[in-house]
């Protein structure tokens, strides 16, 4: 049988609560309601789920969705071996069997016809039919489905079906408030608050450009990267350029504007 322990989180992942999302999530889990986490990239969605899994003491199985993913990647497939074929459970099936939290990261990246397989697990049935194997898996009582979803870069092509959306309760995430974000950056990268505060200010300058040449602003994750580089002794401005500006854009005008913002902050 599958080793449950490997999916458990042993150390507490650091998470700073933004509003009341921890209580909301706990309530949703108590009722085993499927949860959808919305928010821009790098704002702490995955970290939140990890933190909650740790808090609830449940195993978590994460699937990073992509365009090539098919239903059998989630549910399972027959593989060849010396004696013929052998069934291998996919991550979703494993989670349903062992009672884990199944976290489908960036669900919109998967094609719409793929995501339909989660439907029977997300309503009152809580079942997963494996039609190729001729088996009906009844979900473990602890099983919960969580998806994350970034509405920021959704194109017309990449959106969830209404029938999928309406099976979930949803939590809206955004980049944390400046004080909270400062605290997070300072804590994660172990730098002083003053420096973290300045980094957050640069992030805000970039986030103001969202929709005006930038698809997404500088994320909290990138701020932590920058802070980590600074902590390693890299010169501040160089670290900011490397971790904050260069990754997010190739647009020369935006680069120059953000470089100037960095220059204006650090002098």
């Amino acid at each position: 049988m599958t080793d449950i322990e490997q999916y458990k989180i042993t150390e507490q992942p650091f998470y700073a609560e933004q509003e009341d999302e921890i209580a909301l999530y706990e309530a949703a889990y108590a009722a085993r309601l499927p949860v959808m986490i919305k928010g821009p990239t790098g704002c702490g969605k995955s970290r939140f789920i990890e933190h909650m899994a740790w808090k609830l003491g449940k195993p978590i199985i994460t699937v990073a969705c992509n365009e090539d993913m098919t239903a059998s990647d989630l549910v399972g497939r027959y593989l060849l071996d010396a004696n013929g074929t052998r069934w291998l459970d996919g991550p979703l099936t494993v989670a349903a069997r062992i009672g884990a939290i199944c976290y489908l990261d960036e669900i919109v990246e998967a094609r719409q016809d793929t995501t339909v397989v989660i439907h029977p697990l997300t309503d009152h049935r809580r079942q997963l039919p494996l039609d190729k194997k001729g088996e009906l898996v009844n979900a473990h009582p602890d099983f919960q489905l969580v998806i994350s979803y970034n509405p920021g870069y959704q194109s017309l092509m990449k959106d969830l079906k209404q029938s999928t959306k309406q099976r979930f309760s949803a939590l809206d995430f955004d980049y944390p408030q400046p004080q909270v974000e400062t605290e997070i950056v300072a804590r994660e990268a172990d730098i002083d608050t003053d420096m973290a505060e300045k980094l957050v200010k640069i992030a805000h300058a970039a986030r103001n450009l969202k929709g005006h040449g930038l698809d997404e602003g500088i994320s909290t994750r990138l701020l932590v990267y920058a802070a980590t580089l600074i902590n390693k002794g890299i010169e501040t401005k160089a670290a900011c350029r490397m971790a904050l500006v260069r990754p997010i854009t190739d647009d020369a005008d935006i680069r120059s504007t953000l470089d100037h913002a960095i220059d204006s902050i650090f002098g």
């Binding site: 060849l80 074929t85 005006h212």
Partner: protein, 750 residues
Amino acid sequence: MYTEQIQAYRDKLQCNFPQIEECFEDYVKDCLRNLSNQGIEHYLSGASLICMIGRGWEPVMIYLEEMPAIAHRLGEPVLKMVSQCVWDMSRTPNGNAIPPFMQCLPEATRRLGTLEQVQRFIAIIFDMMEKTTGSIHGFHTTIPSPGLTELLNHSPYLLNQLSLEGLKNWIDYGVRNYNNHPERQQDYFSLQSADSKAMLQRERHGTLYMDNERQLEMYLRSMWEDEAYFVPYSPGFDELRKPVPYYDHLGIRVPDVYDDFNGVSGLNRYRITIAHIAAHRKWTTAIIADNFSPFQRLAIEHLEDSRVEYLMLQAWPGLRKYLLALHPKPVEGACDTEKESCVRHRLAMLSRAILDKNHGYSNPLILDFVERFYQAVEKAGSSTKEMADIAVLFTARSRLQSDQSPHIRFEDTMVDYRDDNRHMWMFIEEGDEEEAFDDKRETDIEEHELDGLPPRHYAEWDYATQTHKPDWVSLYESIHPSASAATIDAILDKHKDLAKQLKRILDMLKPQQFVRVRYQEEGSELDLDVAIRSLIDYKCGAQPDPRINMSHKHDGRDIAVMLLLDLSASLKDIPPGATQSILQLSQEAVSLLAWTIEQLGDKFAIAGFHSDTRHNVRYYHFKGYSEHFDDTVKARLAAMDAAYSTRMGAAIRHASHYLENQSADKKLMLILTDGEPADIDVDDDQYLISDTKKALDEISSNGIASYCISLDKKADDYIQDIFGPGGYSVIDNIEKLPEKLPLLFTALTS
């Protein structure tokens, strides 16, 4: 009359104008100070040469007067060079330009500084002179250059604004475009015409606003969370009173060009100006002005400027180095309180002292008020009101008798990134006049409803200079008038056999949304047939094929098409051997094509164009992307008419901006034309051809493919130059067009 020595020099100058005698002694003394003996020889022989040209005493006098200083600065070879140039110039019909030429030399020397530069300058002037001097029957040059005198008269200003390179470009442009038009040439070189100014702007040194517009908008948005219109103004043409930045409800006015200054780049100067204005917008509240005297207001404005800058530096400390570099540093005691009014000087010192901790001033009043300022702002940033109180106190304490003097010291007091602060004042009374109650009547300006949209301006490519002519073409767009849609239905009916045939082809083209890809080593599913075969191989001991999976992929058609029709007058011709005009045939072809594409479901728009000089390019919508091929569209097609000429570049640029906004994997612009690009205001065939080529290059860099269907049998001469090999088809048998066009389209897009 002269001393012996001077008489000796006088004898060497072979020139007998009486006007010379009066000043000759002074000139020689000047020479003796500035030139070597050899130089004086050249100087006098040069003057003699100029005397011989027979243009009166004026050129000689200017030469005698100006050359010693010029030669002193540039070296003595310049003496000979200038006299030779004047001699050369006198051998052309441009003798009238000699005095202005001589007069512009001192300024040119001052600006350019070296002999080489001045030589280049003179070469540029002579080049222009040769090109614009007219001749009759191409034989003798007989007509003087119309623009030369104007050019020379304006050269000090031009040299002030342009580098030599820029000057050359500016002159070349004028010569090229107005060589056959004396009045316009004069307008151009006297800086009267609009494109003369536009070209000047483009060639100016410094950082142009236009080049950085997007960045500056981003700057305002990202660092100041603010947005506003920017309106550039030109400080170049206002010599007396330089305009300063300001903002009002219509937008932020900024200069159109900034030179680098004191180590701060032009772009950063823009940023600082915008930062200052943004800080005002964020932190300044307007106060009532009526009860303050002008001096008090001046002081309040200075302190408020300092306050918003203080707050700005709290947020963005890195800006301080730029402010320090840009803010003038008035020297303490430089202003003489006996002779001039030191109001501005004092305030500038105060402002500097607030900004710069190392100001080094010792004036106790200034120091006291710097202290007061900081006490105020360190409490939560203070307010405009509080600044007003401090400023009133400062004005009262620092008042001097001489403040009223008309001689105000301006030196080192102009902070050029600051705006004029008009936004911080509210006036209760409009003016002081008692009789002003008779308020001006509201005048109703009748606003005329415009027919159609305002013109769009497009640049045009000039292959001769390899530059774009800015805003050269005006394009008016409108919806094409309508006629009866039944005409088009009749056409479709007429070709129903063809339509049936097309339908068969289309069915094969219809997109298959989901395709299975077999024989994959890695795939989404096991392909059982192959898998079993492999397993058999495996069991038999043979090498099994590992490609036993299959996967699926989408195979959709995602194309946006723009059909651009040339509606020039030649379409009305009936080609030899045909019974219908090209226009009618095009109409049929377009109807069929539209029907075809509608069947396929691709995104599709139709537009037509023709032109009547660069000032009037017409662009007509037949069908938009959101419209279906229904009766409205058919009615417009039915009314299709032809007139004027074919200025293709602007139409392509305009059509491409619609196509760019479509989201599709492939974008295709189909151009249906019956001849080469041409217009009545263009003599050079190659010009519009190269512009069209350039326009296509531009759109192809935006991911738009282009394809031309030409009905011109002689198109081979030029069409490949424009559309490149494989980018066009020439349809010889025009009667076949209705049949060919849809087939061509399907072949292109399948």
